[in-house]
Each structure stands twice: as structure tokens, then as C-alpha cells.
């Protein structure tokens, strides 16, 4: 039939084929094929009883799918940095074979490993087996989801704080653990870590993101840089003209590169081009961004910057999770993401309500240039300004 024809078509070509992989497993491929032909998802909602309140999902084929079918899968916690020693990996393989259908989504887009379960009956047994291997099931629904992080100091020279340590410390925290295990918030909540402004960890689109950065100018090893320039590896004029902040100038006589820290936008251009002659600055920080997400009530958004932490302030970072969650959890309607809630409250009031007070936490919200000067203010507001003017008058000495 046509479904099979479509599936065959998807096994051709040079790119790895999911169909080819799935053929080797117990997944009901015909359901998928029928969906493709019908141009509709073949799956409808189903349920399964399990020892977990999050991470467990079940599907049943729609009634128009001939012969029907069932599908159950678990979201399984990944290892820090998604490193898989073969011993551990073989353990997972064993479980996926024994209790599953031999199919694994090795990483989901949030960061979990997704493993298909053979049938509704073996769910709890699989959970037990996964616990033996050293992991567990969880992180879906209106809860804290699987955390995610870039590989950080384990493999990357740019890591400005220890993303893997933060990631594990967060997951070890009792309150976070509980909020992963038991849903109860208005909507999902995601936490992501990136070691540097390149944001390989996609923290910019998390409900709460942590991104390594620094203050001031990148660090320049002038001697090494001169060598690289002489060797033709680095072109100083290229650095000057491509610097996102217009922060770099090159003194051709002294053969010295100067960087104006206050203009540096941390675009990493100079660093990527001239590493390690140019490196991130020494005053390292973790920028905190809040409210990203792909849909929610008001559409896609990136996070808002709410201040800096220091690389060793992981504990403060954990406290932030609940500072951010508290007013949202209390006030937001169901299916309103943190970012939507911020848009409703205003970042400015949100920061007040959460009590976030970090280094460089915005005190005033930047507005678009097209605001309008006309507005009736309540009398007490006017008094505030009158008082300010009065103080200023005295200070300026008029």
C-alpha cells in the first residue's frame, strides 16, 4: 500500500533514516506510514498507570488507522553533559531491549533521553530497571523539566563557569527534585546552562537560563597576538572592523591591540579568531535570563536579562529558581508561561515581585523609543517627582 511506499522512499538517500532505524525495532511503523499518507498525526491520547507522576506518555492510534497500534514512552534523565560511558550505555540498551521495543531517542529537545516501552504493563518494571542502571523517569507536564547544559569545561575551552557542576547541583537540590517529580505549576518550567555567550546550551530560550560571560574587555596576550599576526593567522584590521561593539582599535606602530571594555558586547568574534591570544576577560559572571519559550500565550520569546551571578554562586542560582517561580505560581492562570506572566506584569514589576536583586539587575525597564509623553499620573506619583525636583534644585544649587 501507499504507506509502505512512503516509508521506503524515506529510507533512500544519503542522510541517516529514522525509518531504517525504526525498522530494526518493535515500533508500529505502519501507524506512522498511514499518518504520512493521511497527512495527519495517527496518534491520539492515551493513559498508563505508573509509579511516576511525570515523564510517562502514552498514545493510541486514531480509529482511522487500520489495525490500530499503541505507543508508550518514558522521558529518562540524561547524564551530565550527556556523556555515556559504554558500560552505562550498554545498561540502557539492555533495558530498552528487555522492557522496551529497542528504540531510543538519544536526546530530546529539552534534554531527556526518550525510551519506548514495550507495553503498558511493563512500565513500572522498566522504571525499576532504569533505577538499577542509575537513572530514572520524570520531567513532563506542569513541572520543572529535564535540565540541560552545554558540555562546558569537560570539553570546551570557552567555559566561563562550571556548567556541569551547576547542572548537577541544581538537580541534587531537594526542592528542585520535588518540583521535577510532582507537577503543580501553571505550566512547564525549563532551566538551561551555557558556559559562554555562544549559548550552545540554548539558555536564551529557557524559562530560566544561565549564561557564562565576563565584564569589561577580553584579555589580550599582546605578544602571542603579534606572533599570530606575523604568522598570518590573525588580521587585526578584520578584528577591528568586525567587532560587534566597535570596541577594538589597533595601533599599527606599537603593534598593540586595545579593547574598550565598555563597548565590548561579548560577541566572541575577537576571541574565536585569535584564541588563545585573546581570551574572555577575568571578571567572570553568570548572566541570568528569564522568560524564554517557544509559544505560550504571547508567542515566541527570548529571555530577559535580570542580573549577574558569580561563577561560584550556584546556591544563589538555585534560590533564584524559586524566587522566579513564586509569584508566577501564585498569580498566573493555567498555561501561562513565565515569559507570558512577565509580559502581563511588566518585567519591572516582575523583578519587584520576585525580589530579584543581583549585580546589575535592571532597575528601570528599557522601553522602545516610541513611547509617548502624555499620561495622567496619580497625584502621589506627581508628588514623588516634585520632591525629586526639589532635592535636585537644592543639590544643583538654584
Amino acid at each position: 500500500e501507499m504507506a509502505e511506499q512512503y516509508l521506503k522512499e524515506l529510507e533512500k538517500g544519503p542522510w541517516p533514516s529514522h525509518v531504517a532505524e525504526i525498522r530494526k525495532t518493535g515500533y508500529p511503523l505502519h501507524v506512522y506510514g498511514v499518518g504520512l499518507v493521511a497527512r495527519k498525526s495517527p496518534w491520539g491520547p492515551s493513559a498508563v498507570k505508573a509509579k511516576r507522576l511525570t515523564g510517562v506518555l502514552a498514545r493510541i492510534a486514531r480509529d482511522w488507522v487500520p489495525k490500530g497500534g499503541e505507543e508508550v514512552h518514558f522521558r529518562v534523565f540524561h547524564t551530565p553533559g550527556r556523556f555515556l560511558p559504554t558500560s552505562y550505555l550498554r545498561g540502557i540498551i539492555k533495558v530498552a531491549r528487555e522492557y522496551g521495543i529497542g528504540l531510543v531517542e538519544v536526546v530530546g529537545q529539552t534534554g531527556a533521553m526518550v525510551i519506548n516501552v514495550r507495553s503498558k504493563e511493563v512500565g513500572d518494571a522498566m522504571i525499576e530497571a532504569l533505577r538499577q542502571v542509575g537513572t530514572d523517569v520524570g520531567g513532563s507536564g506542569d513541572a520543572i523539566r529535564e535540565l540541560n547544559t552545554c558540555v562546558g569545561p569537560a570539553l570546551c575551552e570557552f567555559a566561563l563557569y562550571d556548567t556541569l557542576k551547576w547542572f548537577t547541583e541544581f538537580r541534587k537540590d531537594k526542592k528542585i527534585h520535588d518540583a521535577i517529580a510532582v507537577p503543580g505549576f501553571p505550566y512547564k518550567f525549563k532551566i538551561k546552562f551555557s558556559g559562554c555567550p555562544m549559548d550552545c546550551g540554548r539558555a536564551n530560550r529557557a524559562d530560566l537560563g544561565f549564561i557564562g560571560t565576563w565584564k569589561g574587555a577580553p584579555e589580550v596576550d599582546q605578544e602571542l597576538l603579534r606572533k599570530k599576526i606575523e604568522a598570518g593567522e590573525v588580521d587585526p584590521n578584520d578584528l577591528v572592523s568586525k567587532c560587534a561593539g566597535g570596541a577594538i582599535s589597533w595601533d599599527a606602530e606599537k603593534k598593540e591591540l586595545k579593547i574598550d571594555g565598555s563597548r565590548c558586547k561579548k560577541c566572541m568574534y575577537c576571541i574565536r579568531k585569535a584564541y588563545p591570544a585573546i581570551k574572555p576577560g577575568k571578571e567572570r559572571r553568570v548572566a541570568v535570563v528569564v522568560g524564554g519559550g517557544s509559544k505560550g500565550r504571547y508567542g515566541p520569546k527570548l529571555g530577559w536579562f535580570v542580573g549577574y551571578l558569580k561563577p561560584d554562586e550556584v546556591q544563589k542560582g538555585i534560590e533564584l529558581v524559586f524566587k522566579v517561580i513564586e509569584p508566577w505560581d501564585k498569580e498566573a492562570q493555567a498555561k501561562v508561561r513565565v515569559g507570558d506572566y512577565i509580559l502581563m506584569t511588566g518585567l519591572y514589576q516582575f523583578i519587584e515581585k520576585t525580589g530579584i536583586q543581583l549585580e546589575d539587575t535592571p532597575k528601570l525597564v528599557e522601553k522602545l523609543p516610541d513611547n509617548v509623553p502624555y499620561r495622567v499620573l496619580p497625584e502621589e506619583e506627581r508628588k514623588k517627582y516634585a520632591q525629586f525636583a526639589e532635592e535636585l534644585r537644592r543639590a544643583v544649587g538654584i
Binding site: 512512503y6 524515506l10 544519503p14 542522510w15 541517516p16 529514522h18 531504517a20 506512522y32 504520512l36 497527512r39 498525526s41 496518534w43 491520547p45 506518555l57 498514545r59 551530565p80 553533559g81 556523556f83 555515556l84 560511558p85 552505562y88 550505555l89 540498551i93 522496551g100 531510543v104 531517542e105 538519544v106 534534554g111 542509575g134 537513572t135 520524570g138 558540555v151 569545561p153 570539553l155 575551552e157 556541569l164 557542576k165 538537580r171 517529580a181 555567550p197 549559548d199 550552545c200 536564551n204 569589561g216 561593539g245 565598555s262 558586547k265 561579548k266 560577541c267 566572541m268 588563545p276 517557544s294 509559544k295 504571547y298 508567542g299 515566541p300 527570548l302 498555561k335 509580559l343 522602545l368
Partner: protein, 378 residues
């Protein structure tokens, strides 16, 4: 709070390979050895090589294949591999020679090695028709078709100005990672959903309760961002009705209630261009709609592939070295970019939203400037 005690894998010591532990945080240099292979040089003098290979769409791998990976990692690597955040596999080893061997083995198995720098780093797709009940189009099969078309950009036979990543999501939920990416392909119903009346009661308060609670407290009414879902009184009965003109196909109703359905003949994909998360160039930003709707025809999706190819061609031809798609579009301007691609003039309806939709669309513009990078001016 919770009686459930999860066994979350948190032991760094257990999961990091020894060679990584020894050099943790000590990396001082890295070299790229052609597509997919990086050499990491540590202060200790040790070197680690990583080999990155593409996996099938939605990172779906059979245990048979995983076993072969484990064998390679044991034989040629350091007894460990890792999965990248984006669903590629990375093998870890300690010499270039072994790295090249790993590449060979992987390619023999049909997993191309590539990515990094001015290349396609991979295609992310959500699960869609594989497991998702609310999918509109099937992301993994589009990912496969697109991978076939773009493979030379991954393996380095053809070069790109900078990193390219494609996110393919079967519906506006954006599980492939949203739209803050170079190219995002998103499933679209193309027409307001239909309500399957027989299923609706499962999502609504019982008639008696409905008569008492205010409209604004009805869950499905709350969930619709544009007010397209409202209550209407028909004689004695209170009915949920869908005002088609107000619907923006966001899918939030369907996310929360299986009663919402669509007609396959209307279905298509939106293609968005020029987003990114990295703070490089012009900084993190959401992509914008280049094509609000085109047909999504399985199994080969020629129309979608054609648009993506055209976009890549334009960028390749006019982009500067190192310039991400977002930076390129920012430099030449959106209008110019659209002209170069040759896309039709966007419908006025698409540009000028009805009042009802405005909340949904402009709240973001009401207030703050979105976080644009890390400035620390004096």
C-alpha cells in the same frame, strides 16, 4: 512535598571519561581537523579528539545501532561517547589517527561525520507523527528529505558562510527548539480548527457548572490568546464557538483538548529565517516569517526543500565569511533579502493584524527591549 525519590544521574565522577576528568577546565586550544573532528589541547599537554556524526531525524536510534556505537567507543575511543545537545553523537578519543578511523567506521554504518564552523551542524526535528498527538505535519520525514538535500553542507564538500542549523517542528509548539534559529520550519493548519462536538464535553465543565462560572474562567476560553473561542447562548444551551476570523492557528486549544481538528487539505508549513541564540554578530533573536504557508507534501516535501535551498543559495552567494544567516539578513535588510529569495509580497492580512490578534502579537513590543547581549557600559 513528594514521596517520590528519583534516582537522577548526577555523579560527574562516574560519567566523565578519565581523560576528560584529568583535563577538566584546563583546555587551552582547539584545532579543527576537517569537518566533524576537533582536537582539544589541554594545559596538561594531553589531547582529546572528538568526532561528530549525524543521527537520524529526531535522534531516533535502534539499540542495535547503539550497540555498534558502544563497540566503536570501546575499540577506538576512550570507552565513552556523548550525545550533543542537538542530537548528534560525539565520539571521544586520544589521537587523530583513531579519530579518522572512527570517522571511517561511522561512515560505513551510514552516519556522516561533519558539522562545526561554516557548515550545516545538523537538523533538529520534533517527534511529530512518530508519537505526537497534536502534530500538523511530520517533522522527521521533512528532516530526512532536507538532510538528503543538504548533506554536502554537513560533510563539508560544500562550504557555508557560517554555522547553519535547521529546526523542524510539526506544529507551532516548536518542540524542535522554537524559532530562535537560522531556519525554522513549522507546521500550520492553514485554516481555523474544526471542533469535534462529540469530544468537546471532555474538555468543558458540565452544563450546570458552565451556567454558573463566568466566561473568563472557562479553561478553553482562557487558553485561546485571541478570543477566538467564546461562549454563545443557543436557546437554553451554552456553546463554545470558534470565531474563525480571530484564529491565528497557534494550536493552544488543541494542545489542551483533543476536540480540535483540522483538514489535511489546508495543512502547510511556515518557514522562518534569521533567528539565533548565540550572542555572536547581531546577537540572539527570533526568526521572522519568510513564508507563512506552503504545502508540505510527503514523503519528499519538494516545495519546502526548494525554499530552503534557495535561502541557502542566496546566503552563500551574498553572505560574508563568518556571517550567520541572521547577521546577513540584518546587514542587507529584510526587504532586500525577501527580494533576493523572490518570495511573494506578504499578504496585507499577514502584516496588519486584526485587533483581536494584537494582544497576542504586540505585547512584546509594548515594553522592554529584549535582552540583546551583555553590555556593561560605565
Amino acid at each position: 512535598m513528594s514521596a517520590i525519590q528519583l534516582n537522577i544521574p548526577n555523579e560527574l565522577d562516574r560519567f566523565l571519561p578519565d581523560i576528560v576528568k584529568r583535563n577538566y577546565g584546563k583546555w587551552k586550544e582547539r584545532k579543527f581537523h576537517g569537518p566533524g573532528i576537533i582536537e582539544h589541547v589541554s594545559e596538561t599537554g594531553e589531547r582529546v579528539f572528538t568526532v561528530k556524526a549525524a543521527l537520524p531525524p529526531n535522534a531516533r536510534v535502534s539499540v542495535d545501532t547503539l550497540e555498534k556505537f558502544a563497540d566503536i567507543a570501546d575499540k577506538l575511543g576512550v570507552g565513552a561517547l556523548r550525545i550533543t545537545i542537538a542530537g548528534n553523537v560525539e565520539f571521544i578519543t586520544d589521537s587523530l589517527e583513531k579519530a579518522l578511523k572512527i570517522r571511517e567506521e561511522l561512515e560505513k554504518l551510514g552516519f556522516p561525520v561533519g558539522g562545526w564552523g561554516g557548515a550545516l551542524w545538523g537538523i533538529n526535528t520534533c517527534t511529530a507523527f512518530l508519537t505526537c498527538q497534536i502534530a500538523v505535519i511530520d517533522a522527521p520525514s521533512i528532516g530526512k528529505a532536507l538532510g538528503d538535500a543538504l548533506k554536502p553542507y554537513f560533510t563539508g564538500e560544500e562550504k557555508l558562510p557560517a554555522k547553519l542549523r535547521v529546526f523542524i517542528s510539526g506544529c507551532p509548539s516548536g518542540c524542535a527548539g522554537g524559532t530562535a534559529i537560522d531556519i525554522a520550519i513549522v507546521g500550520m493548519w492553514g485554516a481555523p480548527p474544526k471542533i469535534r462536538e462529540e469530544v468537546l464535553p471532555l474538555c468543558m465543565p458540565p452544563p450546570k457548572a458552565l451556567a454558573k462560572i463566568p466566561e473568563s474562567q472557562v479553561f478553553l476560553v482562557q487558553v485561546c490568546p485571541t478570543g477566538a473561542l467564546t461562549l454563545r447562548r443557543e436557546g437554553e444551551k451554552i456553546k463554545l464557538v470558534l470565531v474563525g476570523e480571530k484564529c491565528i492557528n497557534c494550536g493552544r486549544c488543541k494542545d489542551n483538548c483533543d476536540a480540535f481538528d483540522y483538514d489535511p487539505k489546508d495543512v502547510g508549513a511556515a518557514i522562518l529565517i534569521g533567528g539565533k541564540m548565540a550572542n555572536t554578530g547581531v546577537g540572539p533573536r527570533l526568526a521572522r516569517v519568510l513564508i507563512p504557508w506552503i504545502p508540505a507534501n510527503p514523503p519528499r516535501y519538494d516545495e519546502i526543500i526548494a525554499v530552503v535551498k534557495k535561502v541557502v543559495d542566496v546566503w552563500k552567494k551574498h553572505g560574508r565569511p563568518g556571517e550567520r544567516l541572521a547577521d546577513f539578513v540584518e546587514r542587507i535588510g529584510w526587504a532586500k533579502f525577501v527580494e533576493l529569495v523572490g518570495a511573494p509580497k506578504m499578504a496585507a492580512q499577514y502584516l496588519w493584524w486584526p485587533d483581536a490578534a494584537r494582544t497576542y502579537l504586540t505585547y512584546r513590543a509594548r515594553g522592554e527591549v529584549i535582552f540583546k547581549g551583555f553590555r556593561d557600559a560605565p
